[in-house]
Symmetry: C2
Subunit: 383 residues, 2 copies
């Protein structure tokens, strides 16, 4: 065989689902990601109710779950659309019937903006900008496609990543959009501070949002004084959504991790009287080796993201020592019940977004029974 045509000879593969509807949880192949539907549904209802009752719209972030099945449940629970970070993610969700997608990111490169402009012929699409080059590329693409895209100016409210710094830059972008790009619609402001989501003390998170609201309110006032109406002010996340909801400024909140949760978000101290969201996402692993002083599980760095620390095992007396590519080593304390080769154990991921992105399937269960194998359809949607 000539290897000049290997590209066409070999194809990529989707793994077969590790379980099917009706299977017992004990029979799920491992390593797999499980979603506890009771916890998931409780998280979903609780966060949506809080945001909707405050009079804001909820637009959950699809980057957290990458799963059309979950997006549809979010829409059923009152979300008016979803967020994505990538054009290729948005394509997956629109293909699956989601009609309103905001890309909370800067999209650069004609290959991507052409795809986004084409997608806008099939769904209501919004996107963020913080530089005239992005506006120009988008403007050219939507004219070619004959479509329209909503554009939000991203404002940096302390995240230190993307976003304009002040009203001057925001007005400049809004003016460019309005004057030169009739197929683009300036609709408002995207203002998100990822770091605020994970501040551990509730008063720190509240203060971060208060300071962001002050900055954004000033920019919105200057934009509107210059004739640029801001109908959408969007941002916030699982750690701060209650503050954006009561801000009297934001019109829309973008929680992502709230339905699944992880140990990083669970480490946030809550406001007095608040009920914590429940862990709904679990990694299921099999014990493949038992040694004096440790046991070895069949999922490692390719099953669990570790950027926010190691996953936490849900088994009294055992703790996670280390992960390598395909293995997790767990160690017992004096109180631990011995494990045996073939036993299955659950772990709580430390960071749900990049962990979900390692898997082709989410196995949704209730009690001891698998209800669905949900494909992680936007897994690997990098472009």
């Amino acid at each position: 065989m000539s290897h000049n045509d290997l590209s066409s000879t070999f194809t990529s593969n989707i793994q077969a689902a590790p379980a099917a509807t009706g299977d017992l949880l004990d029979s799920v192949d491992t390593p797999a990601l499980l979603v506890d539907l009771d916890a998931f549904e409780d998280n979903l209802a609780r966060v949506h109710t809080r945001i909707l009752q405050a009079g804001l719209q909820v637009r959950p972030h699809g980057k957290a779950h990458k799963s059309p099945a979950i997006a549809h449940k979010q829409i059923e629970a009152g979300a008016h659309g979803i967020c994505c970070q990538k054009v290729s993610e948005a394509e997956v969700f629109v293909d699956a019937g989601i009609q309103d997608v905001l890309i909370t990111n800067q999209i650069v490169g004609m290959r991507k903006v052409d795809r986004l402009a084409a997608l806008a012929g099939r769904a209501h699409i919004g996107v963020c900008v913080d530089h005239p080059i992005q506006v120009e590329q988008l403007g050219d693409a939507v004219v070619k496609e004959g479509t329209h895209i909503d554009v939000l100016v991203e404002v940096d409210i302390g995240h230190g990543r993307c976003g304009v710094a002040n009203a001057f830059e925001a007005i400049d972008l809004a003016r460019t959009i309005q004057q030169y790009h009739p197929h683009l619609r300036f609709v408002g402001i995207h203002a998100f501070r990822g770091s605020a989501q994970h501040m551990r003390q509730p008063q720190e998170r509240a203060a971060a949002v208060t300071s962001a609201v002050e900055k954004v309110r000033g920019i919105v006032q200057e934009l509107e004084a210059a004739g640029f109406a801001c109908t959408t002010i969007t941002g916030g996340g699982t750690g701060t959504y209650m503050h954006e909801a009561s801000s009297t400024l934001y019109t829309e909140v973008q929680p992502g991790s709230y339905v699944l949760m992880d140990t990083d978000y669970a480490a946030n101290k809550l406001e007095e009287g608040s009920t914590p969201l429940q862990h709904a996402l679990f990694g299921l692993c099999t014990v493949i080796s038992v040694q004096a002083g440790h046991a070895v599980l069949d999922g490692g760095l390719k099953a669990f993201a570790v950027d926010q620390g190691l996953p936490r095992i849900q088994l009294a007396g055992w703790s996670v020592k280390t992960l390598s590519d395909e293995h997790t080593v767990i160690i017992p304390d004096d109180t631990a019940t011995p494990l045996h080769v073939g036993d299955k154990v659950r772990l709580i991921p430390s960071h749900c977004d990049p962990t979900v992105n390692l898997h082709d399937w989410l196995i949704a269960f209730r009690g001891k029974t698998v209800e669905h194998a949900w494909p992680v359809s936007a897994r690997g949607a990098l472009f």
Copy 2:
């Protein structure tokens, strides 16, 4: 639409390749993984020559690249088979025409061993054991399938993960295999120490292999004295392959990262006079935002694994500050040339195996031109 049948409604997606044969490197969509073919071929030839000239066999590890195209190049360069960690990986490589696969791991669970036993009807398959339960499950499966599998007893040589501790346990497993499981063939020892691969000083790595060789030699002698011939002694990796090659004990070496390389392996100090292997793997990203004091790239934690540290940018004056899910923030020093929105930059991953596993494609290039889009066909092969 009812969401009871979402599993069948939505499917997982493979991303379209970010480039095609003949494309200029500048036009590759981002974030993408690039393979520099000149460096790749040099690494391949150099390591294989060293091992083959010492009279050992080379069985490269497919877990590092998960790509049948690369496996075929390794076979063409003298490898007599490849290693995998998972049954589902092995299936991908056998489907692609690789005829000899060793699973350097313990396989537990009837669903997996049944698949492995079936696979043994289509290729020469080996697997590791360290416990009688694994032997029993494998033995039952191969009888059902009417196939044969080679079995290696894994010995723990200081890795502290899987493996028997001594000759007594090794003989016990070999006897169980030979007496009770005629469809299993005891062929020898798997002895790998991952931690030794990354010891920074060459004399530490040499000493670790020397001590492992002593332990394994003793166990092999006792096994053979008990009537169990060890025709295969396999292990070693990119950090130590030259020591196993000169051990007069190992019969086979299993390097994995050597063809692609990463910053973690490159941090190893080499023996005097040794030429370092070349970085052949690069992440290509686009600058999507430029701010006072930093710039933002369009690939983050879903494009680069960070368990061994941040990726390193290949651009004088710039360094990586932080990664979030979809972004990398880079910062300039006084000597840095300014970047612009739309510029493309390369980064060297810190750990090639889990980074490759995040991508559906490897874009193989020479000079400024794309030669192949190689599918990462075993990406996500967790089972």
